[in-house]
């Protein structure tokens, strides 16, 4: 029957779709981090030193990390409060290998608005996979 070749083509086409492109080894696994310090809800004073200690690892290779500390008190509903100087800190560092421990000291300025701050850590691997961790800390007199 003259239709048969066409039906075969159909099956072939579907078969190609399902099996033709086998999965290669691709890296979509996110890097991981364990943050030892600061701890959640830890309280600091303006002018004090803050220790950042963390262990980063990835299945293929680490690329970089970024620390972003910003004021987190905007979440209450007081909109037009008096504007003190909010502290904002950004630091980026390069990483290499599958595992690396980072330990650094961050100086908290003396004259800043006190309250809740968000300590965010961004971590990327060489493929562009990214992990984010956020820790709430408090800066009080």
């Amino acid at each position: 029957m003259k239709l048969k070749p066409i039906l075969y083509l159909f099956v072939l086409f579907l078969g190609f779709g399902i099996t033709g492109c086998s999965d290669d080894e691709i890296d979509t696994e996110k890097p991981t981090m364990t943050v030892y310090s600061p701890g959640a809800e830890q309280v600091f004073r303006p002018g004090q030193n803050l220790n950042f200690i963390a262990e980063f690892s990835d299945n293929v290779g680490l690329n970089a990390f970024k620390i972003d500390i910003h004021y987190g008190g905007d979440h209450d509903h007081k909109k037009h409060e008096e504007e003190d100087e909010k502290w904002h800190y950004v630091h980026t560092g390069e990483l290499s290998g599958r595992s690396e421990e980072v330990s650094m000291e961050i100086d908290i300025p003396g004259e800043i608005k006190t309250g809740e701050y968000h300590f965010m850590i961004f971590l990327t691997d060489v493929s562009g996979n990214e992990s984010i961790a956020a820790i709430t800390i408090n800066i009080e007199h």
Binding site: L3, I6, L7, L9, F10, F13, L14, F16, G17, I18, C21, D23, D24, I26, T28, K30, N63, A64, K66, D68, H70, D74, H75, H77, K79, H80, E83, E85, K86, H88, V90, T92, M120, F122, T124, D125, V126, S127, G128, N129, E130, I132, A133, A134
Partner: protein
């Protein structure tokens, strides 16, 4: 401003309606038989009859057409109203053939039950008008015959049998179609895994221009106003130009009223999960070939509920109090006014519509989820911040004029999309807090027009040739920045030839050329040293203009390879020009909280596409298989760079990049009638897509899914004209582990739905009633395509839906 504008447009529309009679003095009243008095009332027996109306290419009933049932066994001619009736027909498979001089011949297999059946035969149906004949039947899920690309017609009944808060949630019941939801009331269309700027949504042939590139942008359309629409899967670039890569959805104008009549329709909907209440009221007056139609629709919904009391995001456990997802309520209000006339010169109509939406976003979808924002939240019907207010106004004029050998279509449209995103201001950085809540405002004006000439070259060949033009302007406001001000305009020309070959093969070939210009204005933002001092201005978007020239071609064949088999093949190319964000962005996208960087050297994204199709239609079995294969020479996507942004609050920079990519898959639909009353159907869809340069899967690819439906349509003995349908469906969705970088994997799930619909004759019309239970077992699951998937939010739980449609018709 828009209120006054709407008023003046309504006035304008009414004026046109009132002045039309003078323009169409020669108009012929269609339903009065040519020289032979009044139309007589046709009596349709309850059982064993097949009856209907044959329409010509303008929707006018076609008198004198020959209608045959089962090749010669029965034959009738349509009466002056285009009507025909066969009675005493046995249940089973029958073939209906319609022929008319100058229109060729149409044949169609029908499976009849014991009850009488009504069919409408359109000797033309689509804006393209390439198909000879479309026999439209309510609930028919088979593709339109004679097309080289898979095209499906969807009617009001299908939408009512698959109710959703949005139109796309209803259409997602079709194989290969998905809905990308942002909560319950906002949805984006997805055709074969292509969404955003890779699908076209049009109404009466005018492409809808909102902000379809945006991930939290939905389709601004009144779902209750849709009476029928067509969905084209595959490269629809010939007619729709840029963006029609995945396909196109085109809402077709409602059927032109027949005779002198007054019609109203009331649609009521209630949904339990988000406590939705909806009303849509239509009124239509038609006299001597002129008509005026008004529709008002409103729906109001509260926060939706999920079968979960908490979810986990970035190691935080975020509570969901009483399963209520905070701030996901909303309200849509729409109004549509259309007026038109027809006569022996053609048909014309003007439609003005306004769609307004006020919808909330889950706190944390703008920025990061935060338990503190949810602590004091109380259940509400009124969205608080963050939320969006959308207004989409459209004024569309459609005219078809009979010309020698064919007809001329002239479509003109104006659209205003006004988008406002409101959020409590916050500062990441040293600057002062903005003193207003308008985070983002985008005002998009679009004027588009199209002229198409559709004519017969000789008996077997038809040519469609046309031009279209577009002018667009975007202006921005608000304290946030997403998109610069820009102007864009373009011109396109196309030509499609359709011819009938030997052996019931029909061929189609077309070419299109497009030219477009984008002119982007620069945007600078302040960089503050403290809350009082601006240190300098940083360029977020450069001053930039560019132009694109595109050429595309398409060729296809459909082969009616026997009574029960149709095969189709199409080879074509489609494309989309990069948008202003992809070309020029440089900053944090406030919705995704990513630093996105545009590239002014981006090229037009182009896909080369092969589509195949097979339709088998036997006595009890209907089978549709539609595989596709697309190769992108420069697929445009946001590529994670691995390098960090210097901007506060952002992680790594994502750069708009291009790569070679492959995108393939297909759909299978099979329906089998177990008995005359019991039908089983199975729908399957599968997509596989990969970036060929780095071998990562492409983002937003729907996971494989299989849906099985069992429906039972028993005769209601004391009331044989009633149409009842019970249905039970099981949808199994596989997990999606083939994800792009930083796209979360999604687990598999199975959902159960149950439904009951009834259509009960009352006067000239049928009252429709529906009762549905969606997510019957209150399953907790995540939808891979949902906007809230990124936040790990579960999807809505059990939902009971009640719908009621009451049409009333008074004829003179």
């Amino acid at each position: 401003m828009s209120n006054r504008f709407c008023l003046s447009v309504c006035f304008f529309t009414v004026l046109i309606f009132l002045t039309l009679p003078s323009l169409q003095g020669k108009a012929e009243v269609w339903n009065e038989p040519r020289g032979s008095g009044e139309l007589e009332e046709l009596t349709v027996p309850d059982r064993g009859a097949l009856y209907g109306v044959v329409f010509d290419e303008k929707g006018l009933p076609l008198p004198g057409a020959n209608v045959y049932l089962d090749t010669g066994r029965h034959g009738v001619q349509t009466d002056a109203g285009g009507r025909f009736i066969f009675s005493g027909i046995d249940p089973g498979e029958h073939e209906l053939v319609v022929s008319y001089l100058g229109y060729g011949k149409a044949s169609r297999s029908l499976i009849l039950g014991p009850q009488s059946r009504y069919v409408e035969i359109h000797m033309e149906a689509t804006d393209l008008m390439l198909d000879e004949v479309v026999v439209s039947e309510a609930g028919n899920l088979l593709p339109v015959r004679g097309r080289s690309l898979e095209t499906r017609l969807v009617d009001r009944r299908f939408i009512e049998e698959n109710p959703g808060t949005t139109l796309m949630q209803s259409l997602a019941a079709l194989p290969g179609i998905n809905s990308m939801d942002i909560g319950s009331g906002i949805s984006k269309p997805v055709i074969r895994g292509m969404s955003h700027n890779r699908v076209v949504f049009a109404e009466n042939g005018i492409k809808q221009e909102g902000h379809q590139w945006g991930s939290d942008h939905g389709l601004e359309v009144d779902q209750y106003s849709v009476e029928r629409l067509e969905i084209i899967k595959g490269p629809a670039a010939l007619i729709y130009g840029s963006d029609a890569i995945g396909g196109a959805i085109n809402i077709r104008p409602p059927s032109v009223p027949s005779g002198n009549s007054f019609r109203t329709e009331t649609l009521l909907t209630g949904r339990s999960n988000n406590s939705l209440a909806a009303l849509s009221q239509m009124a239509e007056y038609s006299r001597e070939g002129r008509f005026l139609r008004l529709r008002f629709s409103a729906q109001d919904y509260a926060d939706y509920t999920v079968p979960a009391d908490s979810f986990t995001y970035n190691n935080w456990i975020i509570p969901v109090k009483n399963g209520i997802l905070a701030n996901t309520s909303g309200r849509d209000v729409s109004m549509t006014l259309s007026a038109g006339a027809r006569g022996n010169w053609g048909v014309t109509s003007v439609t003005a519509s306004s769609f307004r939406q006020d919808a909330g976003f889950f706190p944390g979808s703008h920025g990061l989820p935060d338990a503190s924002a949810l602590e004091n939240y109380t259940y509400s019907r009124t969205p608080s911040y963050p939320k969006q207010k959308i207004g989409h106004f459209k004024l569309i004029s459609n005219t078809s004029l009979f010309m020698p050998g064919g007809w001329l279509d002239i479509d003109i449209g104006y659209q205003l999309n006004h988008r406002r995103e409101l959020n409590k201001p916050h500062v990441h950085g040293a600057g002062p807090l903005p003193d207003h809540d308008l985070e983002l405002e985008l005002v998009l004006h679009t004027v588009s027009s199209g002229i198409r000439y559709n004519f017969n070259l000789d008996g077997d060949k038809r040519l469609l040739a046309g031009f279209d033009g577009r002018w667009q302007e975007n202006t921005k406001g608000g304290y946030g920045f997403l998109l610069p001000d820009y102007h864009e305009h373009g011109l396109g020309a196309f030509s499609v030839l359709n011819w009938q070959g030997r052996d019931d093969m029909s061929f189609e070939a077309g070419i299109r050329a497009d030219w477009s210009v984008v002119d982007i204005s620069a945007h600078y933002e302040e960089v503050w040293t403290d809350s009082n001092t601006i240190s300098h201005y940083r360029e977020r978007s450069p001053e930039f203009d560019t132009s694109f020239f595109n050429f595309t071609a398409n060729a296809g064949v459909s082969w009616d390879a026997g009574d029960d088999l149709e095969l189709r093949m199409n080879i074509g190319s489609s494309y989309r020009t990069p948008n202003a964000i992809e070309l020029s962005a440089n900053g944090i996208h406030h919705g995704s909280f990513r630093h996105e960087m545009g590239d002014t050297t981006l090229n037009t994204e182009r896909a080369y596409q092969l589509d195949l199709g097979m339709v088998v239609e036997k006595e009890r079995l209907r089978l549709v298989i539609s595989p596709f294969l697309s190769y992108f020479s420069n697929y445009l996507f946001l590529r994670p760079s691995g390098n960090f942004s210097f901007l506060p609050g952002a992680g790594q920079i994502y750069i708009f990049s291009q790569t070679r990519a492959i995108h393939l898959g297909g759909e299978v639909y099979a329906a089998y009638s177990l008995t005359n009353e019991l039908e089983l159907s199975v729908t399957g869809e599968f997509i596989w897509a990969e970036d060929l340069r780095e071998n990562f899967p492409l983002p937003f690819i729907p996971p494989p899914a299989v849906k099985s439906d069992l429906s039972y349509s028993p005769p209601l003995l004391p009331w044989p004209e009633a149409d009842l349908r019970f249905s039970l469906s099981v949808r199994s969705v596989a997990g999606q582990s083939r994800v792009a970088r930083n796209e979360p994997e999604t687990a598999a799930y199975t959902l159960f739905n149950a439904g009951f619909t009834a259509s009960l004759p009352a006067g000239r019309s049928n009252i429709r009633l529906g009762l549905f239970v969606q997510n019957l077992f209150d399953k907790r699951y995540k939808n891979h395509l949902s906007f809230y998937r990124r936040l790990e939010l579960p999807e809505p739980g059990r939902n009971v839906v009640v719908t009621l449609g009451i049409p009333v018709e008074i004829r003179e």
